[in-house]
Symmetry: C2
Subunit: 154 residues, 2 copies
Amino acid sequence: MPGGRMGAGWGGRFRGCGYRMTIPRQIIMKVLSGTDKHLSAEDIYMKAHKTNQDMGLTTVYRTLELLMQMGVVVKFDFGDGRARYELTEGTKSKHHHHLICTSCNRIVEYTDFMDEEMEFLKRAEKGLSKKHKFDIKSHIIQFYGLCDKCKKKK
Amino acid sequence: MPGGRMGAGWGGRFRGCGYRMTIPRQIIMKVLSGTDKHLSAEDIYMKAHKTNQDMGLTTVYRTLELLMQMGVVVKFDFGDGRARYELTEGTKSKHHHHLICTSCNRIVEYTDFMDEEMEFLKRAEKGLSKKHKFDIKSHIIQFYGLCDKCKKKK
DNA sequence: ATTGATAATGGAAACCATTTTCAATAAGAA
DNA sequence: TTCTTATTGAAAATGGTTTCCATTATCAAT
């Protein structure tokens, strides 16, 4: 993929869902596509703001809301009071889940057990979709506990 | 178990963690033990308030924070702006997970696939604990998507 | 039982991420 | 180009959660 076109191609996706493609939305997609981190709304706003000075934080929230409904983005809550967002179909990053320390809020990504996990998830999603008539777009798996340091501190 | 003693026995647990057992904490434990729903802080406050008029909302938040650190309670975020809390070792309710509609916020509990899930989780927790030196206390699994109604609406 | 150090409490005010409002602007079909 | 209508940004409002602080309660040591 040649550089400079990241985030392109999303126009059809938006229009297909009955929405318009706009400059702010393009920029936001570019930011989301260009990272492998979990960004907060403000993180995204700040990155986008560098490209387009007129970008407003409100638009970021509105677009994220849209993207979530489109199933393109997942929202995470790690318990620190601000939500994080991530593309579901991340081309950049490996599929991963999170370990969260309930004491210091440290977040560890892990990619272990992914094979088992994916297999389990595939079966579960299929079964749950059918039984509960849900159109499942994404999922979250998080483990909570005490990290090494906090364990010793106590 | 004879009635009227629900929530008792927690004193040791608190003291064991270096905290004191107090009336408000007893009442909060009673509320949490006595429900199989996911209560918000305010839900808990209102229930507790019936037993003890002096109960303050601040104390509920503080106690929940404590219980989370103790690994006794899990905090859920279903995306409606208020967190929900639930005992991890629920004697009342079956272990379950959640399906959440990203459009209307409807929450469906499911207990299907629990056997596979439990098996997977057991292995994952053991492996992750060792590898990342985490003391895992609880976990969250949530599926997001569109419920039957919202699917048709579009 | 009494004491005393200090953890815990409640109420009000502060915080701050997220929403709402609204007039101005831009997208895209005709 | 024109017109309809979705989208936008800024500021204000919202509301769940935290912080502050003076008062009260717990519980280990006496």
